[in-house]
């Protein structure tokens, strides 16, 4: 079995759900350093420090023949001192496990520079949250949910640009940390993720992302999220993402913004 061989940064980095992508959004790129002739993978750890909360997560993914991707992520949304103000208790944390699968359907983001056709992939993310009682108390319907998405990614090398657009069918409240479906809207809604990046070098991408989210819960409004990010390939195997992120209001606490730091090791 062959390992390695992928061009720097073309596996993407690990996004907030543990899938190959940017920071906030899931892309059509397949994780791991493998080419279509081999297998690869990536492990990662991410920390997000927000105004009133923090999020840490770790996980990994396997890339198969640059065609399919399976990922697993364990995430902890820590309310810290804010937990006491919410009546949950100090350092109350929501834990979530995300299992993801992605299949590349058609198109090529990297090599097909003579065509506008993006690389298109479809996938799902199965999310399991362990705080059933709290989720029901705030108006959430379920503690598990599945997101379905279609992502299109294109690198425009002659412009040094990387573009991505993703459509997501989801019931998730705050990425799933507050459960799935709610008292205001219990069903699926279509959400959008957009990313635009500029390749400063073959190892450094700077860009911005925007991600809309459902607004299912009556007790607190949910807003769109955005980030300004830099992804850097330290070596061919090791990459880092640093971002300024704004997730909007979370559980009545306004304007949650802060820093997103992620390290990924790929093979």
């Amino acid at each position: 079995m062959q390992f390695g061989g992928k061009l720097d940064l073309t596996r993407g980095v690990a996004n907030v759900e543990g899938a190959g992508g940017g920071g906030l959004s899931t892309w059509a790129l397949i994780t791991g350093n493998e080419t279509r002739d081999g297998v690869g993978g990536q492990v990662y750890g991410t920390y997000v420090g927000l105004s009133d909360y923090s999020l840490n997560e770790f996980g990994g993914g396997v890339g198969l023949f640059d065609r399919g991707e399976i990922s697993l992520s364990r995430q902890t949304f820590d309310t810290g001192a804010t937990g006491a103000k919410l009546g949950l208790g100090k350092n109350f944390a929501f834990d979530q496990t995300v299992v993801g699968a992605k299949l590349r359907l058609f198109g090529d983001a990297v090599y097909a520079q003579d065509s506008w056709m993006p690389q298109v992939a479809a996938g799902l993310q199965y999310k399991m949250n362990d705080r059933t009682a709290i989720i029901h108390a705030v108006g959430g319907k379920d503690d598990t949910g599945v997101d379905y998405y279609v992502a299109a990614t294109k690198i425009l090398l002659d412009q040094s640009l990387v573009l991505n657009g993703t459509l997501r069918e989801t019931r998730a409240n705050q990425f799933g940390f507050l459960g799935f479906g709610g008292d205001r809207n219990s069903g699926y809604s279509t959400q959008f993720e957009g990313s635009a990046g500029y390749l400063v070098s073959r190892r450094l991408l700077v860009g911005a992302e925007y991600r809309t989210k459902p607004d299912n819960l009556g007790f607190a409004h949910e807003n769109s999220a955005y980030d300004l990010l830099a992804a850097f390939a330290i070596t061919h195997s090791l990459s880092a993402t640093a971002a300024y992120v704004n997730l909007g209001d979370i559980a009545t606490f306004r304007n949650q913004r802060g820093f997103y730091i992620s390290l990924q090791a790929g093979f």
Binding site: Q2, G5, L7, R36, D37, Q113, D158, S160, L199
Partner: protein, 163 residues
């Protein structure tokens, strides 16, 4: 004894030297710029960013040296005609980057036939080329414009090399 060895070595060098300077014969083919497999970049900005013919010469020398030592690619180039490879690569980079050259090499499919190449080899060449252009001080934006022209050749180079 020392003297004799030295003389023999000098003689061997004299005999060997022309073999390196001359290209080996190839099967006849129709020469055409179309064999480059892509239209040149409009304008000469990228050619100038590569520092013209001399810069391209240094980039190609560095690229070939890297390909010969990289364990991923070394075996592929073991039996190569480096004089011809150097000349046609220089022509190719000069022509595609918008320089005043013609490409006289074979088309991509024919040139890579039966080589059994995979993406890992194609990508190794891309990264060595990027390293060589970095050494030459070529701005990334110009590198990316040139690579955008070569990226689609993965199909004629890698896929056709299986036949």
């Amino acid at each position: 004894m020392m003297m004799r060895t030295a003389l023999l070595a000098a003689a061997a060098l004299l005999i060997a030297a022309p073999a390196f300077a001359e290209e080996q014969p190839v099967k006849p083919y129709v020469q055409s710029d179309a064999n480059a497999g892509t239209k040149p970049i409009a304008g000469d900005a990228v050619f100038k960013a590569l520092h013209g013919q001399e810069g391209i010469g240094r980039i190609v020398d560095d690229l070939i040296a890297s390909l010969r030592t990289d364990p991923v690619t070394a075996d592929i180039f073991k039996a190569s005609d480096f004089e011809r490879l150097r000349r046609t690569l220089i022509e190719d980079f000069c022509y595609v980057s918008g320089g005043p050259c013609h490409y006289t090499g074979m088309d991509m499919k024919t040139a890579h036939q039966h080589m059994g190449l995979q993406d890992i080899h194609f990508n190794a060449l891309v990264q060595h080329l990027e390293d060589a252009m970095n050494k030459e001080g070529v701005p990334f934006r110009d590198q990316a414009r040139l690579l955008a022209k070569f990226a689609p050749m993965r199909t004629p180079v890698v896929d056709a090399s299986q036949n």
